[in-house]
Symmetry: C2
Subunit: 316 residues, 2 copies
Amino acid sequence: MSGPMFQRVALIGIGLIGSSISHAMRRRNLAGTIVGSAKTEKTREIALRLGLVAEVFEDPADAVKGADLVILCVPVGACGEIARRIAPNLAPGCILTDVGSVKAAVIRDVSPHVPPGVHFIPGHPIAGTEHSGPEAGFAELFDNRWCILTPVNGTDKEAVARLRRLWEEMGSNVEIMTAEHHDLVLAITSHVPHLIAYNIVNTAAHLERVTDSEVIKFSAGGFRDFTRIAASDPTMWRDVFLNNKEAVLEMLGRFTEDLTALQRAIRYGEGDTLFRLFSDARAIRRSIIEAGQDTPAPDFGRHQVKSAKPGGSSEK
Amino acid sequence: MSGPMFQRVALIGIGLIGSSISHAMRRRNLAGTIVGSAKTEKTREIALRLGLVAEVFEDPADAVKGADLVILCVPVGACGEIARRIAPNLAPGCILTDVGSVKAAVIRDVSPHVPPGVHFIPGHPIAGTEHSGPEAGFAELFDNRWCILTPVNGTDKEAVARLRRLWEEMGSNVEIMTAEHHDLVLAITSHVPHLIAYNIVNTAAHLERVTDSEVIKFSAGGFRDFTRIAASDPTMWRDVFLNNKEAVLEMLGRFTEDLTALQRAIRYGEGDTLFRLFSDARAIRRSIIEAGQDTPAPDFGRHQVKSAKPGGSSEK
């Protein structure tokens, strides 16, 4: 490549995703200058100290001045108000995008504020960890992960192609779909899984006959996998559920219906039904590993497989 | 230690747990000789080739001859029948134990067959991976994990102390409780989590408006964490649900009740309720890490954090 893809990038919000974008851009020299804004003094101080941004602002409207790319990296519930504040300072021709986990609501909230000549292209990198904040980011977060763009009809094709290339340069595969389809797909692959993870952690915490200390001690039996995803940022997830209500409720309805059938199979001792269903789930797991979206490493053992093993085990 | 703790150990079943026990025993020289039995020719051949056992038998009744420790490492539904078959060959004074995920049903099925003078002490190491079979085991599987023993009233104290020490030497912490309490604790920390993981994978596989390929591609948003635990051995899990019906149905009832309340909070847009609940879940996650039952590594990134990071990120 000859020179950076964008001259001046403004990151509005510098948490896990914002800081990872900075790392990923600097890894490949994709931006001339990266500036940013963050709500708290502490985040601004850390972002400067880590070199995530060259300049940092309290007011997002100051950060976007002269930027040819503005990325909203804030909880989806905050996008509309920020769009309203930055709109007067957006440069003509600039690309405005976001990273929110819900897309129809972001379009509903942001679009009315976007000035003519600014290209608003909603986006969502399907990547993250259970950690939050500017220190949680790393350059490899988007490598081999999918990023979904949901441009509305009539969006400038050239601008979409540029944004697609940016995500590809940051390591992602890119797919384009409608916001409505995105919200449905994510409801089942991400939103409902997070909700039931939060829910079982909550159920476990309120038992009378099993203590919290027992739940914690014996969590290696499966429970800890749920607590991992239930440790994700609460503000972000509150906003996801408030803003993708219809799709989440639809998927939750199906989940509960299926769970009720399973519960019935247990009550009536229908072993064959259980066995068939459990076997099917294994096949899907294999497909995910083949698609490079997870590793086959035996993670329940949690990386304890360090030493050379006596006895010639072929465990990999 | 002076000499091995047991002279001749018989592993009945040589899958993930049986093979890991062999590795863990040989790591610390805990057994004079380890022999075993396995149902399939293939497993017997692999077990010999990997050095997991010195001798292998098709019939468990042959494997237990002269053993001072017999460990049933088979799905809980198979324990009763195996106990019946091996009973005539169990040596007086020998300890008979198991590793099943359900304890009251194992006691119900095995106890009637145990000859006088044989010490039957049910056990359950809370450890595992999503892989199965004799090649899946490794010596570190039990390190810093809990093993629960559920001896019935009147069990020889000396025998319980010996079995406790064995598990400690294999790396575990040991706790003793009643079989009924074990089954309740495991229902919430292990059985229900596995059931809802299987269930959501099933729900996702039967959607009309979202394709399997989309579910797989975008699984990094949370779904893949469920497929990991839903990849566990189907026979083992069928037997768990058939044999811990009451406790699983009780915990499932609570889970569904809590989920219905959460669903209602989403429907009515109760953001504060959602935020409070999501924040509480984070605290439990921290406790699990502090208790050494999981690592704080950002596992959603799935070990992609390899290279030295530019820009001085403090990501650990």
